[in-house]
């Protein structure tokens, strides 16, 4: 909220403290100054000057030549305004001044032969008003030479202060002044109120009935008769505009003034428009409608608290008044409401109506229930001052259950226990007393009990007092310890597995992406059963991702658009799926699983002086997935399956399974899917469930010794039907061999016309060895021949030869 420094100084003595220090201290004691606006900036070199003499310009009819005095100096100045006269005090811009409206700089000039050493300004030139009829004539009591910003009271500094939700008391000038009084240990003054009341009593004209005392614990009302509605005086208008409010009329302006002075929202009703001259505080009925001051019709529920007259609602309590009872130019008699509402009730109403006002903002944070009569009196006094009229004797104050100030006991040793630093006993007391607390116990050695004023609803416990002491005393006084203790015992790192996977993916050439977990329901439904948001930002972000695939495809699409066509991307992130059809009532109704996506698209090799271009294909993906698993020692533990389940997101897919459970799936992404993301090149990707992957027991590593005996290699090639898979051949070779066969490598594969249709050639390299001895040629031959024989017979192969 905006706080005017000049206004503030009416309540706390800040004499001798620089503005910069005030701003700094406010910030470091918890009222963060976010912005500083110097009102008078731009008035440099503009001063009050006295017009000593005015002569007609010798060469121009409409110009005059004046001699102006700033006290110690005199200047010759040419002026074109018709109203300039000797004996006036004027706003004089000296050479070097920058005119606020227009921003031009005053320089020495010659106007039709006469030298002009400055300029006498109009209100428009000064940016004060639109008036450009003539020059601005200033009060004759001003001392020539006085800087204009001072003379006009424009020397204010307005602070934008961020008030945290726990500090409703600081949402006013008096509240901020109280903090400053405590920070600088200065006196503060609350304006005294003296009322002249007329002989009639309020009860003769009005009554108040509170039906819901839970949500309206206090309702205070006062009456003023025969006021004149008019424009507010300039001091009041200036105050309101300084904090960004628009002056309306004297009555509304007074209530706004009190709001910013004291933080108590007030509401003025036109008494003559209140049916039965009665105020009833009650709940609305469901579906009831009401037109607020902003001319909008609002639909209410039985949870909303209303201010009504004997017939109809006239205001939404604590939020906004109604058109039907507002103060108009014709209003004579005013009923002023100064109430305390239950914060949570006001908040519910403001939330459900999506209507936040200055009043609701304060009520929902908690106003002071015990300030309502003072606020009403202060408003009455000002209304009578500014609008005449008679204040009726007496106050209607419905307050069935007084809200008493809390008492809190502070154990002095707790200050050190929490802060690690002791605060002097006297400073503790000064701080708390300056903040408005009272001592209600004898001053003990160990502890003291304080009464907390009701304007500080945030101070409930000892810890809250310790915070007040710490912040006013200054957090900077608490030392930063230079040693910390280390807790012995095991350390956990739940992120270490995923960090390792990231390193491996990097080593394999993948770049990490992080995509938005929120996507449209239509997209999320392609890959699972999405959890949807009640209040999404937009339909594009209405559901949580059910797979990492769509996010990765968005990344592909984005990169293709910017000309990056060769992609190796990975992402690690949570995916979410609903597990039940109904509403989520428990954590078991949905799954949240960390996943990992590996994706390749574009070219595996680009044209270089040493290489030819080659697109990524499924074997790149398979190889990368296997290398990846090898690095986490799971390559021999998992099983491969191909097109195990039809999946419409893939043209073809393969899975990695562990004990028949799928831990990862991937393949060539289907054209249909790619079209949705506007992708025109092949995309291969693979997605792991990292919970399942992390749970697979990794075989314990042991050193196996180094092979001391030679390996024997035998190659063979077959012509086979194309429908015979490589895996079948390799499987059969192993099956028909002894334990001497340790490895089979498919090293060549081709199809050609010579082989005939539906035929292809596959060549394998077989590796034999024994850890304990050198193999004899004959035993390898026996093994090898058995394997070749089996392939020929069982797979209907033609043996092409050996080497």
């Amino acid at each position: 909220m905006k706080i005017s420094l000049n206004w503030l100084k009416e309540y706390v003595d800040l004499e001798g403290i620089a503005t910069a220090e005030i701003i700094d201290k406010l910030t470091i004691s918890g009222l963060e100054v976010e912005d500083v606006e110097e009102k008078g900036s731009g008035f440099d070199n503009i001063v009050v000057a006295y017009v000593k003499e005015r002569k007609k310009h010798p060469n121009a009819d409409k110009l005059s030549v004046c001699t102006v005095s700033t006290g110690d100096e005199e200047f010759n100045v040419v002026c074109g305004a018709p109203n300039v006269e000797a004996g006036q005090n004027v706003a004089f811009a000296k050479i070097g001044a920058i005119i606020p409206n227009g921003g031009f700089k005053i320089t020495k000039a010659k106007l039709r032969g006469e030298v002009s050493m400055g300029m006498i300004c109009s209100e428009r030139e000064l940016g004060i008003s639109d008036n450009h009829q003539g020059i601005m004539v200033l009060d004759s009591s001003l001392e020539p030479g006085t800087p204009l910003k001072e003379a006009l009271g424009l020397d204010d500094v307005v602070l934008e202060v961020a008030i945290t939700p726990n500090r409703p008391d600081a949402l006013s000038h008096i509240g901020v002044a109280r903090d400053l009084a405590a920070i600088f240990n200065r006196k503060m003054t609350i304006p005294e109120v003296k009322l002249t009341e007329c002989s009639e009593r309020i009860e003769k004209y009005a009554s108040v009935e509170v039906q819901d005392t839970t949500n309206c614990p206090r309702y205070t009302a006062r009456l003023i008769k025969n006021v004149t509605i008019k424009e507010s005086p300039s001091w009041l208008k200036k105050k309101l505009t300084s904090v960004g409010l628009r002056p309306i009329n004297n009555i509304v302006d007074v209530t706004n003034f009190i709001l910013y002075e004291l933080g108590q929202p007030l509401h003025s009703f036109d008494l003559d428009r209140l049916e039965g001259q009665k105020v009833v505080v009650r709940r609305a009925s469901d579906g009831e409608t009401f037109t607020t001051l902003d001319s909008k019709e609002r639909r209410l529920t039985s949870k909303d608290l209303m201010i009504c007259d004997s017939e109809k609602p006239v205001a939404i309590a604590g939020v906004m008044g109604g058109e039907n009872s507002e103060v108009t130019a014709e209003t004579k008699n005013i009923l002023l409401e100064s109430a305390y509402f239950n914060p949570s009730s006001i908040r519910k109403t403001a939330k459900s109506l999506i209507l936040s006002t200055d009043a609701s903002y304060r009520f929902e944070r908690g106003t002071d229930p015990n300030v309502t009569p003072y606020a009403a009196d202060r408003a009455m006094q000002l209304m009578a001052e500014l609008g005449g009229g008679e204040i009726l004797t007496g106050t209607i104050d419905v307050y069935p259950e007084k809200i008493e100030p809390r008492t809190v006991t502070l154990r002095f040793n707790q200050i050190k226990r929490i802060l690690g630093f002791d605060v002097d006993r006297k400073d503790v007391k000064d701080i708390l007393l300056n903040l408005g607390l009272k001592v209600v116990s004898a001053e003990g050695q160990e502890e003291m009990t304080f009464e907390v004023p009701t304007f500080r609803p945030d101070l409930e416990r000892e810890i809250d007092l310790i915070e007040e002491i710490a912040r006013i005393n200054g957090y900077d006084k608490i030392p930063a310890v230079s040693k910390i203790s280390i807790t012995l015992g095991g350390k956990t790192d739940q992120s270490s597995f995923r960090d390792r996977l990231r390193d491996i993916a990097n080593g394999l050439g993948f770049y990490e992406i992080i995509s938005n977990s929120l996507q449209s329901r239509e997209i999320a439904q392609l890959t699972g059963k999405p959890v949807e948001m009640l209040n999404p930002l937009s339909s594009d972000m209405a559901a949580l991702r059910t797979s990492l695939l769509p996010g990765a495809l968005y990344a592909v699409s984005k990169n293709l658009n910017v000309g990056e066509k060769n992609l190796k991307l990975f992402e690690i992130g949570h995916i979410f799926n609903k597990l039940s059809d109904g509403e989520i009532k428990d954590f078991s109704d949905f799954s949240e699983i960390p996943g990992m996506m590996l994706l390749v698209s574009g070219k595996a090799e680009t044209v270089k002086w040493y290489s030819k271009e080659r697109p990524f294909d499924i074997y790149d993906l398979k190889g990368l997935v296997n290398s990846f698993l090898e690095k986490i020692c799971l390559d021999n533990v998992l099983d491969d399956s191909y097109n195990l389940v039809e999946n419409k997101n893939f043209e073809y897919n393969f899975t990695k399974t562990y004990k028949n459970q799928v831990v990862g799936r991937g393949g060539l992404v289907s054209k249909e899917m790619l079209r949705k993301f506007d992708i025109s090149q092949d995309v291969y990707c693979f997605e792991f469930d990292l919970n399942l992957l992390a749970d697979i027991p990794v075989p314990q590593k042991r050193f196996n010794g180094l092979l001391k005996f030679p390996k024997v290699l035998r190659d063979c090639a077959f012509i086979l039907d194309t429908k015979v898979t490589g895996q079948e051949v390799v499987g059969l070779i192993y099956k028909s061999s002894s334990g001497l066969l340790k490895n089979v490598e498919l090293f060549d594969i081709f199809e050609s016309k010579n082989l005939g249709p539906d035929k292809r050639s596959m060549a394998f390299s077989l590796e034999y060895y024994d850890e304990n001895r050198t193999l004899k040629d004959e035993e390898v031959d026996k093994d090898f021949n058995r394997a070749v024989e089996a392939v020929i017979k069982q797979l209907n192969a033609e043996f092409r030869g050996t080497s």
Partner: protein, 338 residues
């Protein structure tokens, strides 16, 4: 003793001839001439049988020396000639680009988090994680946000329904951790969080936080300051200035925000620090006794501190990234810069 003379001459002639050798081929010819079975050196060994008995040891020694010396000089030259494959090495164009293996990289947010994790691990912190789809209880209620309290407005929330939501901060992991173990607890808790705020250059619907928590007997605000100052100096540089400002979080009391001097302008005020000279880097405070009560810790026995920082913001400041949305667009031209 002609043979000794011959040995000397052979050595001399080999020396002269080998100096003229320029390529492998003539070296091979030289080998055949001197070192082959029928070569000069072998022939001299054959002549040894004609040497008298008493001269044999001397001649034998000289012959062995000759053979070794010839072999050694031959080997040295052979290695030298082969090292440029017999080619003129000025023809190797070293300016050609090498065959490169492209490595990937971690996202800049991951890299930043890694740095933070390394520092806190060194300070004795464990690392825990928690779910992003949370209950209102863990995200708000257990952290001392009463229902219908304006403190909830500080964090615009995506709701799934009235009891489930996307966590707005990583603080719920504190609650999960404390309910699962007894003090001492010292851990950081990184992860994604979500805010229902209009997307702009400065704000995105999700971002990453690191939460920190330390609970034990005798944990103080002074220790919180010491730990965070140590972190900030390791992360941002040892000469930085800092300040702690009071703030408000429902789950800490007293609460603070930590500012460091702006590293772009060194405190003079610039666009990055919006003229203040200070950059806010994290929020922190002493764990509120109400949170302890909720998780079953005795606030009279234990004290603790907690802190939280946004990783996007830290990386924005450190790397001068102009727009938070760039983190999530996954443009390779951005990713490859880090």
């Amino acid at each position: 003793m002609d043979i000794l003379q011959t040995i000397k001459e052979t050595d001399k002639s080999f020396s002269q001839e080998i100096q003229k050798v320029q390529d492998i081929k003539s070296l091979e010819e030289l080998r055949v001439k001197y070192l082959s079975r029928k070569g000069i050196v072998s022939t001299l060994f054959d002549d040894l049988k004609n040497v008298s008995r008493e001269d044999k040891p001397l001649v034998g020694k000289s012959l062995n020396e000759l053979r070794n010396s010839v072999q050694l000089r031959f080997d040295e030259l052979k290695e030298k000639l082969e090292s440029v494959s017999g080619k003129d090495h000025t023809l190797v164009d070293l300016s050609l680009p090498g065959r490169k293996t492209e490595l990937g990289s971690k996202h800049i947010l991951t890299q930043t988090l890694d740095e933070i994790k390394t520092i806190f691990k060194g300070l004795g912190f464990s690392i825990f994680e928690g779910p992003e789809l949370e209950s209102d209880y863990y995200n708000f209620e257990a952290l001392n946000f009463p229902p219908d309290h304006p403190a909830r407005d500080m964090q615009d929330t995506f709701f799934v329904n009235k009891s489930y939501l996307l966590r707005t901060h990583t603080s719920p992991v504190q609650v999960r951790l404390m309910t699962s173990q007894e003090p001492p607890v010292r851990a950081i808790m990184p992860g994604k969080v979500y805010r229902n705020e209009a997307i702009s250059a400065r704000s995105y619907c999700l971002f990453h936080q690191v939460e920190g928590l330390y609970v034990d007997t005798d944990v103080t605000f002074a220790e919180l300051k010491g730990t965070l100052v140590s972190f900030a100096r390791q992360f941002y540089g040892s000469d930085l200035k800092y300040r702690f400002r009071p703030s408000f979080f429902p789950f800490t009391e007293p609460s603070a925000e930590m500012d460091i001097t702006c590293f772009l302008c060194h405190g003079k005020g610039c666009r990055m620090c919006k003229g203040s000279g200070w950059l806010e880097i994290l929020g922190c405070g002493m764990v509120d006794p109400n949170v302890f009560k909720e998780v079953g810790y005795d606030p009279e026995k234990y004290t603790g501190y907690a802190f939280g920082m946004g990783i996007e913001r830290i990386a924005i400041l450190k790397y001068d990234i102009p727009d938070i949305r760039m983190y999530f667009e996954n443009d390779l031209r951005f990713l490859k810069q880090f």
